[in-house]
């Protein structure tokens, strides 16, 4: 028995060890001293400066052999000397090439996909650059407000549909695509995730309040100080691309723009039809991002304000991916005397300014500017109470009239309602200075 006693004591003496990792939060990101230390081998470029220094030729330095290695979509006949696509590789060795900027996008809503926009404030003005990265749900790693330091060596600067971005060279060989003769070729591609992990560094903790929003009217988006169309200046538009803006006193007017540029009215036939108004089958449905038939381009819905001369209506587009989580949410409207009516929900719209010129044949047009919101939190719209918000569909997506059967424990209010801007809360209206 003594033996067992001794063995038992020995057993107690052998304890399971646990490994401690002693995470020190302040070591997880860079402070300014560390930024200096890390960038000592080179220079931190401003975002616009990076483009100016390393994107020296219109067609990009990648590559000179335009037969075998041509850059995509150089339509000389319509826009001689202007290339919508370009690639400029950055030297992988030599002095360090750094940029820093604060993330202004959030992909939780699904409207940004494998893309970030960073913002740098230089002399009180915004400079912005898109980052094309092969990393889904990147906001989980780089949330809105997070400042990044990026070592650009070995990456590339390019333009995709005229939008400047940090990227890697990529070859589009989809010879089955429509207009393949324009599309096949080199263009900006997504930076592989392993490069993000090795090139991107966090500076401090995220601070969304440090993002700068330019308050603009829709008219100001379209026209410069001289009254010229900003979109007409293809080169100049590149500098505006990615700007973080807020439009005030704006509303959705229930219109959308077809791919040929024509405006049309959205359908609200939700009660009685499978295909008519059903966002899965009908691209005219009055939701933010109905189907594209698996093609995948962003859907456009018209946003309006009264910023034209003498208060004339001006419109631009709000761009939504059909893969966004809120894609099938209805545009805000109310029933007034039994008829659906837009324009009673008004307020602020925040988003990233951009455009899409995927071939050089596009003519300048005010419809080409669009605002990309991250999710519905970027819409601060408030009903004016003139009508009735449709029951059961107020916040909701496409639904059928028997949707009411899902009334299990109605008191369950999910976070998404709290996050939603589509509220009629009087106190909130007052808090925002609308009354």
């Amino acid at each position: 028995m003594k033996a067992i006693k001794y063995l038992s004591i020995a057993a107690l003496a052998v304890s399971m060890t646990a490994c401690k990792y002693d995470i020190q939060p302040d070591k997880l990101y860079l402070n300014e001293d560390k930024v200096k230390e890390l960038t000592a081998d080179g220079k931190i470029y401003h975002l616009d400066e990076l483009l100016d220094v390393f994107s020296t030729t219109e067609e990009g330095n990648y590559k000179s052999d335009t037969v075998n290695y041509r850059t995509r979509a150089n339509d000389e006949s319509n826009n001689p000397g202007i290339w919508l696509y370009s690639i400029d590789t950055l030297p992988s060795s030599g002095p360090g090439i750094y940029i820093r900027g604060r993330v202004s996008t959030d992909d939780y809503g699904g409207n940004f996909y494998k893309a970030l926009v960073i913002q740098e404030i230089v002399d009180g003005k915004q400079q912005n650059l898109r980052l094309s990265i092969d990393m889904g749900s990147a906001s989980g790693m780089y949330p809105r407000g997070q400042e990044l330091l990026i070592r650009c060596n070995g990456l590339a600067i390019g333009r995709y549909a005229n939008q400047p971005q940090l990227c890697v060279p990529s070859y589009n060989n989809n010879t089955n695509a429509s207009s393949a003769e324009q599309k096949v070729g080199w263009n900006p591609g997504r930076i592989p995730a392993p490069f993000c992990r090795t090139h991107f560094h966090l500076i401090g903790l995220p601070d969304e309040s440090k993002l700068k929003y330019d308050t603009m009217t829709i008219y100001q988006i379209h026209r410069d100080a001289e009254g010229n169309y900003t979109y007409n200046d293809i080169k100049g538009a590149r500098k505006i691309d990615g700007r973080l803006v807020v439009i005030k006193d704006a509303w959705f007017d229930g219109q959308f723009v077809k791919t040929n540029g024509e405006q049309d009215t959205c359908h609200i036939y939700y009660p009685d039809s499978i295909s008519h108004g059903n966002p899965e089958y009908d691209s005219n449905s009055a939701v933010f991002g109905p189907t594209t038939g698996n093609v995948g381009y962003p859907q456009s819905r018209c946003l309006v304000d009264k910023s034209g001369k003498n208060g004339a209506l001006q419109w631009t587009l709000v761009s939504t991916s059909e893969y966004a989580k809120y894609a099938y949410f209805y545009l805000p409207f109310e029933y007034v005397d039994g008829v659906h009516k837009y324009g009673t929900f008004k307020g602020n719209v925040r988003g990233i300014l951009g455009f899409y010129m995927d071939n050089a044949g596009y003519k300048p047009d005010r419809s080409k500017w669009s605002i990309t919101i991250c999710d519905l939190n970027d819409l601060e719209l408030y009903a004016d109470g003139t009508g009735e918000v449709p029951a059961g569909t107020k916040w909701g997506p496409y639904t059928r009239p028997d949707g009411q059967k899902i009334d299990l424990r109605k008191e369950w209010q999910m976070n998404i309602y709290e996050r939603s801007i589509l509220q009629t809360n009087e106190e909130k209206r007052k808090a925002n200075g609308l009354e």
Binding site: S137, P279, T399, G403
Partner: protein, 1087 residues
């Protein structure tokens, strides 16, 4: 149904009545018999108390030694006899004796020499078995059969030597290898397997065992088609004294210490034994080593007490357990192995604040208590009974993430191959990669080893990024950059920290979760044997097991985040699509992503349960009886078993997807929500929601015949037929989400006839024919075996690129045949050497196509019909006829040269050859509809769910090989043949290296036993496995079920959808390799 059961039970009764009618032995049989007695002792003169067999070579009679090592044989023929003595853990001995008529020949003490290498080898086997146990993965490395030093030449040779190649007994799954402890069935009721980790490091606890090979007659169980092993843990079976040991190895753990004390039988009738063992490895900061990124910590205890009474009663109290915490390693693609230059690359670890940290930590602990009772009623009758309680804690950690990038370093999008992806030419043909690229994922190289850019029509093809960037990415992998090729722990903490600021009340971006798969089992067993009757031994038994599987997830480490919100990230992503299914309001849709709809958006902190929390209640009961008839020239046995089993799933959490599926089709609401479906839909909260119970009755019959040609040669024939209820593991479509079981069980539940009743049970029939020989110089056997399985079923789950969600795929109607030949012979070469050869040449194949039912876990449609209506449960057939069953090598052969010197030197060297080993196939890649454009019911496939590129009725033209007449070319099993490169995606891959030398593994061991004064001993043993360091031997793996959608996004078919493009390189197979050279050095001191 009732008539059949009545008939079967009546048969058992008839068996017993036969017994009752037997006459008692005549007085003549007790008069002056010729007898042989003796006692087995070890080299110290201490009685051998393990399981031992004594066989008379000429008369072909055998018996077992009792727990004091004593044996006795009566009614023998007087002649010169050869006594063959075999005991587990000892080197066999053959002794010549002369039997005198009417007299008792006393052999006195018969000494057996300890097989020193065995203990070390058993420890290695246990480690392998433990490493292979990935309970929650579904795709675990195939484990070899139970560690056994069976007295059978074939089993003794193969159990260790063939474990490196993951040889499996006749190609059977581990569920067919039954394991018992003091007669109690210890294979898990839910998963069907035995957890070797429960006895990790406790080699003394598992030392004494009786092993029944395959269909042979057994005395402690009915048995089955696989081996049955009964571990005997009574304290009196261990020799008195202390034993302490120290071992070092370069495997998963690096060091081991153990100590054992056994009292031996004391005068008061008590015996005791206690063993403690500790195995340990710290994290070692080195890449490319065996056990890379793994820490190991296991403490084992084994306590057994036994009381013997003079009147034949014996009571044993046994408890053991081995709380273990160990890291895991994972299978990766060939590309990763090639880039990292090591088969030991492990994607599960990374640096955390500069220290090595593994994300997959197994915590296992199986506290077990057994009370066994034995009553030797008289010399011919014995009654044994036991009760046991066993709680298996088993959990495995894993990283999970919410709205954040996938943290796995070997995620396919992080690999260079993803950017060297398939491209199509103008004709829709894949032109990017060719055979060369398939073999070499790094691409085609020129003579200088530089990557070559390929052009097609003047355009560079074959990759989607430029060569320099591609090269830099490969360089990251080759250099094994810590941030890019291992888990970036600091990055995960940083992401959570940022998220705490950005969304303080939001869910963590990253979290380490712990998946618990516990099981609690209460087991009882009664076994009665009677040898009272002439030539007949009767054995009967009954065992009952109640088990409850306990499954849930818990928050293991928030990695610095504030909390985890309990919603399903994947369901949330699919919400938009769900909105079109039925008339859900947004409020209703919010339910769908909830893991517990009665506690939506629950905030979870460290240690909290989340995700799912369900219980699988199971009852299993077996009644069996066996008659063994022994005559001079032949033996016959037959046995019958009736098995009852039931399973019922209960849950404390109602999953939003289950609720959604019930709402989607209210007719089947009970199918998903169980008995309380109506209450759930009415919003009535309960503490437990009951599923439906499913009950099964399965009969089994087996019989054997042995013809004794003479004392040294015999022929055996064994046959078995049985049905077997599905395991709970395979019965539920998605037990974590809802109560739905596979369709055949529903058929079974409402069966109108026997055929329907047994529709869900697997039917098994088989037999083996053995020729056995036993001479002074050579002994061995040759066995031919054949086993046919019908109506097997299995579950698979994977991410479906077409449905863009996680799907479950049930495979039913799996028929297969396992046939082959086993042979082994041991030849004595002079005094010191023995040469043992063993071979298994098997052929394990599927014998028909199977059926599959595919459904999305979140209720989304998985396809649409031509008229646009949706398909939620896709029924199709799967072309598996003729494929090989992927259960280890089907051709294995080895040659072993053993050396033993009387000065107690031991050594052996073994060469093993592995061949005919195949990769497990993914059913999703062999669907009929993908090959032909039509489902099994003849309806046409709409859109992309097929392996074609264009056309409507002739859609298979690009993928399927056509003859001159335009008809599909079929193989001899009736499956369409595919063109290159489509065939690469679907064909079953051989794991065998094209280089013959890479199929060989060489092992060696050497040992020395040193006698010290006062009966003390010191033994030293070194075994080196794979000492030629063959790092090219693939032991297993699996084809990924996920199939890439093609690159034809812009090209519409006439039916309006993009098509499924078989890109053979996008989701390549994953492999396991045998370890390179590894050693085990042990020193044991006995006193």
């Amino acid at each position: 149904m009732k008539k059949t059961l009545f008939f079967l039970l009546a048969l058992i009764g008839a068996t017993c009545s036969i017994v009752a009618q037997q006459n008692a032995p005549t007085s003549e049989q007790f008069s002056s018999p010729t007898r042989l007695v003796g006692q087995l002792v070890n080299e110290d003169g201490v009685p051998i108390v393990g399981y031992a067999t004594i066989t008379l070579g000429n008369q072909n009679i055998s018996t077992s030694a009792n727990e004091r090592g004593e044996f006795s044989l009566s009614y023998l023929e007087a002649m010169d006899e050869e006594v063959i003595i075999e005991a587990d853990g000892y080197i066999s001995n053959i002794v010549q004796v002369q039997l005198t008529p009417g007299q008792t020949t006393d052999m006195g003490n018969v000494t057996l020499i300890t097989d020193m290498g065995l203990a070390a080898k058993e420890e290695v086997l246990l480690t392998l078995a433990e490493a292979d146990l990935n309970d929650d993965e579904g795709k675990s490395q195939s484990v070899s059969s139970a560690p056994s030093a069976s007295q059978d030449v074939f089993n003794a040779t193969t159990s260790f030597a063939w474990s490196t190649g993951r040889y499996r007994n006749r190609g059977y799954e581990q569920t067919f290898e039954k394991n018992y402890i003091n007669g109690l069935a210890f294979n898990s009721a839910e998963r069907g397997t035995f957890n070797f980790s429960a006895m990790g490091g406790l080699n003394d606890a598992s030392r004494n065992k009786e092993i029944v090979s395959n269909i042979e007659a057994a005395n402690f169980t009915f048995g089955g088609i696989g081996n049955s092993t009964n571990y005997l843990m009574d304290a009196s079976r261990y020799a008195q004294g202390w034993k302490v040991g120290l071992a070092g190895t370069n495997r998963q753990y690096k060091g081991r210490v153990n100590a054992t004390y056994a009292s031996g039988p004391l005068n008061n009738g008590w015996s005791f034994i206690a063993q403690l063992a500790w195995r340990y490895s710290p994290y070692i900061d080195a890449k490319g080593i065996i056990g890379e990124g793994i820490a190991y910590n296991s403490f084992g205890y084994f306590l057994s007490a036994q009381k013997d009474w003079q009147n034949g009663h014996r009571l044993s109290l046994i408890t053991f357990g081995a709380p273990t915490e160990r890291g895991q390693s994972g299978a990766v693609t060939q590309e990763v192995y090639d880039l990292t230059g090591s088969i030991n690359y492990n994607p599960y670890w990374g640096y955390c604040n500069g220290k090595v940290r593994n994300s997959r930590i197994v915590k296992a602990y199986d506290p077990t208590a057994i009370v066994s009772y034995e009553w030797q009623i008289d010399p011919m009758q014995r009654l044994r009974a036991a009760v046991g309680y066993h709680y298996s804690f088993y959990s495995n950690s894993a990283l999970t993430f919410y709205n954040a990038p996938d943290p796995r370093p070997d995620y396919y999008r992080n690999m260079p191959s993803y950017f060297y992806d398939g491209q199509l030419d103008a004709n829709g043909q894949l032109i990017s990669k060719d055979n060369t690229a398939w073999m070499n994922p790094l691409g085609i190289t020129d003579d200088n080893g530089n990557l070559v850019e390929q052009t097609y029509n003047g355009n560079i093809v074959g990759r989607t990024m430029d060569m320099a960037t591609y090269q830099r990415l490969t360089d990251l992998w080759k250099a094994r950059d810590n941030k890019a090729t291992q888990i970036d722990w600091d990055g995960l903490y940083a992401a959570n920290q940022a998220n705490n600021i950005a969304d303080p009340n939001g869910s963590a971006s990253y979290m380490q979760e712990r998946r618990h798969n516990d099981i609690e089992e209460a087991i009882m067993n009664i076994n009665y044997s009677n040898s009272k009757f002439d030539h007949l031994k009767i054995t009967a038994g009954m065992d009952v097991k109640y088990a409850q599987g306990i499954h849930y997830k818990s928050v293991d480490d928030l990695l610095g985040a504030n909390q985890w919100i309990d919603v399903d990230p994947f369901a949330e992503r699919d919400i938009k699509d769900l909105a079109t299914n039925i008339g859900l309001t947004q409020e209703g849709i919010e339910f769908v992503k909830q893991n517990d709809i009665f506690h939506p958006n629950a905030v979870k902190k460290q240690g909290d349960r989340f995700g799912y929390n369900y219980y699988m209640n199971m009852v299993q009961a077996n009644v069996w009886a066996q008659n063994e008839w022994n005559f001079n020239d032949f033996d016959v046995y037959y046995a019958l078993k009736i098995a009852y089993s039931s399973m019922q799933r209960n849950t404390t959490m109602v999953n939003g997807r289950a609720w959604y599926l019930a709402v989607l089709n209210e007719r089947y609401m009970n199918h998903y929500l169980g008995q309380d479906a109506q209450d759930i839909l009415n919003g009535k909260e309960k503490s437990l929601y009951r599923g439906y119970a499913h009950n099964f009755i399965d009969p089994a019959f087996k019989a054997g015949f042995t013809y004794k040609i003479n004392g040294r040669n015999r022929i055996k024939l064994n046959l078995i037929a049985q049905t077997e209820a599905p395991l709970a593991r395979d019965a539920y479509v998605s037990a974590r989400v809802h109560d739905a079981v596979i369709p055949t069980i529903y058929t079974h539940d409402y069966a109108k006839n026997l055929a329907e009743y047994f529709a869900s049970s697997q039917k098994i029939a088989g037999g083996d024919l053995t020729y056995e020989f036993n001479y002074n110089i050579v002994r061995g056997r040759v066995t031919a075996y054949y086993t046919q399985f019908w109506d097997g079923s299995e579950m698979n789950g994977y991410y479906d690129d077409q449905a863009r969600t996680f799907v479950n795929q049930t495979l039913t109607g799996i028929n297969r045949a396992h046939r082959g030949i086993e042979a082994a012979a041991a030849v004595k070469l002079g005094t010191y050497f023995t040469l043992t050869g063993a071979v298994n040449a098997g052929d394990y194949r599927y014998t028909s196509n199977a059926y599959s039912i595919t459904s999305a876990e979140n209720g989304m449609p998985v396809a649409t019909k031509m008229d646009g209506t949706t398909i939620h449960e896709l029924v199709d057939s799967v072309y598996i006829n003729g494929l090989h069953v992927a259960n280890g090598p089907q051709l294995t052969a080895s040659l072993k040269l053993s050396f033993f010197h009387s000065k107690m030197w031991f050594a052996d060297i073994t060469c093993t050859y592995y061949d005919r080993n195949y990769l497990d196939f993914a059913p999703s890649r062999r669907m009929k509809s993908m090959y032909t454009g039509t489902y099994e019911d003849g309806t046409r496939v709409n859109g992309s769910y097929r392996m074609v590129s264009n056309g409507m009725n002739q859609g298979y033209e690009n993928a399927v090989l056509l003859d001159d007449a335009g008809e599909m070319v079929l193989d001899k099993f009736g499956s369409p043949q595919l063109r290159y490169p489509y065939n690469l995606m679907a064909d079953q891959e051989s794991l065998v290296s094209s280089n013959v030398w890479n199929r060989f593994i060489f092992d060696a061991s050497v040992g020395k036993l040193i006698y010290l004064p006062n009966r003390q001993q010191l033994s030293i043993n070194l075994s080196v496995t794979n000492f030629t360091n063959n790092t090219k031997l693939k032991t297993g793996g699996y084809q990924q079920a996920r199939i890439a959608r093609g690159n034809l996004q812009q090209k519409k078919t006439e039916e309006g959808n993009s098509v499924l493009m078989p890109n053979a390189w996008k989701f390549p197979s994953k492999y396991y390799y045998a370890w390179g050279a590894n050693f085990y050095l042990s020193v044991t001191y006995k006193f």
